[in-house]
Symmetry: C2
Subunit: 192 residues, 2 copies
Amino acid sequence: MGAQGTRDRIVEAADWLFYRRGFDQSSFADIAGTVGISRGNFYYHFKTKDEILTAVIDRRMTNTQATLHGWDQGGQGPKDRITCFIQILISNQVEIMRYGCPVGGLVSELTKLDHTAQDQANAIFTLFRNWLRAQFALMGRAGEADRLAMHLLARGQGVATLANAFHDGEFIQAEVNQMCDWVQALEPTLRS
Amino acid sequence: MGAQGTRDRIVEAADWLFYRRGFDQSSFADIAGTVGISRGNFYYHFKTKDEILTAVIDRRMTNTQATLHGWDQGGQGPKDRITCFIQILISNQVEIMRYGCPVGGLVSELTKLDHTAQDQANAIFTLFRNWLRAQFALMGRAGEADRLAMHLLARGQGVATLANAFHDGEFIQAEVNQMCDWVQALEPTLRS
């Protein structure tokens, strides 16, 4: 396998570990062990854990942009695209119940660590926030689009935190239904 | 100062540090340094960090029970008591913007650490959940009281997470107003 392939595998493994155990709890040895490479090969790619963190955040940014772009290209209207966002809570529910939200978890951890990468991690939230704001504006809610985006982001974060604490899948489903109803109710009624 | 006073000061300092830095990032030396006592005196009270964690969770349980009891004794109806709960986000907003919610933060961290004290920390959430459920039942919503309690807890957690990420006090205020309106709207309309 080429150097780029090895690098990608390191970043993927680190992403996986940072989500499940936290950044601080995942050591170089843990990551190298997960990938199954030698310490020397590892250091060829990354000298510090902060370099890996930057690469993990870049990977998450790229994946998030690809997801949002896919929804934008899906031929649906803004209301249905927002529903796709809400449905992440269902499609990822097994992991959310075990580990919470990967974005919220990393931001909270880096804030507590007072880590310099806080703003980088936060940029993933901002990506969702700006995308949601654009969708709400397309729904004719331009004046309050940012408020609605922040509100929905917060609802999702809260559901992830409590689903993680109580390991409760029915709770996720009930909240997702409520959020979908909420978006539906925002749509202007068509005049007949 | 007596042994009990020293013990209380250790637990208070540990509570403060666990909230601001996280449990894992707070060492014996950090806690002893904050209290200003010797290592020997420290070990007289606590042999392991897990013992301190248990004491911190006990302290938070006791403080939460006292807060809820105070609201119960305050002579207000259930709707106004729920409003007191929502208003915690305002009264603690400076700390929430910097460190998030202490309950959600500890539960998330212990879950990632797969720590045996997860359930103990979770009991603080359960305390709020049961208390909120009782208030919603008193408002005539017995059939859906637990759902409403979980919903409101999640809203609060989500607000804390995003306020922490974006350091945004206006967002907290706007969400608190919305939550208060939501509780208000749950109250049965008085028949005239």
